[in-house]
Amino acid sequence: MVNIPLLQVSHAVRDYKRNGRQVRVLNDISLYLNAGETLGIVGESGSGKSTLLRHIACLDKLNSGSIFLRGQDYTGAKPRQICRDIQMVFQDAVASFDPRMTIRRSLCETLRLRDGKDNTDAQIKLLMSYVGLPEELLDRYPHQLSGGQCQRMALARAISIVPAILLCDEITSALDVSAQAQIVRLLAKLRTKLDLAIIFVSHDLALVSGLCDRIMVFHEGKCVEEGTARQIISTPQAEYTQRLLSSVLTV
């Protein structure tokens, strides 16, 4: 039997216009993601990593190339058609919530979309136990939470749908190192508990290497290197990967 990956992107190309010039943001990107696997994508700002995630989540349309979920081509689908399988968490957690709604209302709305009914109290309790936050925080507004707390709430919202794939777009970049460590540990815990496949995008190779099974290195819209976390860290081949490795400041 042929093993069909959970998610497959083949030959994705996307051009943007910047200052009247045509810029190729995704240049023939192909990748696969198996069930329960964590794939890390690293690269500097503007390398196309967030753009790729937006396309996987159907928030944008490719110029050419296809995206498959369990072997089915869903290129060009509407976000609503795939949101039960694919959920995305963004860098700015506060901005990803409706500022006029309490966190409880935002979470209830997602659960109602999933179940079509209002039986949500027990489920919200369960979600809070997953992300390790006290229930008192539910009645606050997004701006009343710290960055780390708000990002945990965003994760709670994403997993409430029980998706197969979680897309994480620089979810720790706006947090201090202590909150960042809390979030990656939480992600590792959720991955085991819910058997999630994760694509984790970050510019920090050290952070990605601790969390991910496989790593892809992006530079100027191209994938310059791909391998297991161990390969990329101990025997980097591409000059750019070596530069990224030497840029990490450790204690």
Binding site: E44, S45, G46, S146, G147, G148, Q149, L175, D176, V177, S178, A179, Q180, A181, Q182, I183, V184, R185, A188, H203, D204, L205, A206, L207, S209, G210, L211, A229, R230, I233, R243, L244, L245, S246, S247, V248, L249, T250, V251
Partner: protein
Amino acid sequence: MMEEQLLTVNDLHISYGDADVVSQVSFSVKKGEIVCIVGESGCGKSSVLKAILGLPSLETVVTGGSIVFEGRELTSMNTKQRCRLMGVEIGFVPQNPGSSFNPVRSYEQQFRETLSSHGRRFDQAEVLDCFEKLHLTYGADILKSYPYEMSGGMNQRIAIALAMLLRPKLLLCDEVTSALDVTTQKLVVEELMQFRENCGTAILFVTHNLGVAAKMADIIIVMYAGHLMEYGQSKKVLKTPAHPYTKCLMVAVPDFSGELPCGLDGQPPLEGATMETCAFEPRCPYAGDMPHKNPYKMKQVSDGHFSCCTGRA
């Protein structure tokens, strides 16, 4: 020895409304020295910078203590006297330069205005050279651009360039590398160190990342809940950290061990702490049943290395 001191902060207290956000903070910065203040979000590190700058942001008020810069007491100066010091003697790079530049005026207009108001001449070659060092290519195009056209990281580097052009004696940097990706972060850190070598500028650098502090600092100051926790020469603090909080911050920095970084559970207190009990105790992995006496009294660990706690494990 005393004439070497550029800035001396003594027993500084800052409050926000009724609550103390910074208490009993004392440290000094020598000429040409890089001092890093490290701590989690909300520990009062940026408030210390704002007090030195004299920016009465929101309701933050200096309620006690002294800040002496080259023998002059800053807290008793009026706004006009302070303005004269800013830029040329004490430079500042804010955390979010996108909002400190005027969004509807070109960088060139803003550079010209800032330099001329400090009696300096706008020399395009010098500006472009400074841009080049910070890997800002197409400098001439940047000068014609507006702040809203630039990414956060580019705005940050342009703000650093402007602060460097004035060649201050002391440069205050508030989380200037936090919004940058790792490659640019390393570049900015190295450029600031080079700037110190070339111009002898002392740098007071606020960051939450001990990895950044390890790279550039001569002296590291660790703050928590508005108090100093540990203070000392960078090598000593990193090699033999005495305070449990410093140890926790060190393991939170990601490395290549293949392990996930460890974050402290819980949140730091939002308001500063009382003097009687240690604010870190609820999160402290070494905390015992016996409460601390005088939790914030600094004890000498070794020569030039002080900590208010040495753990009880």
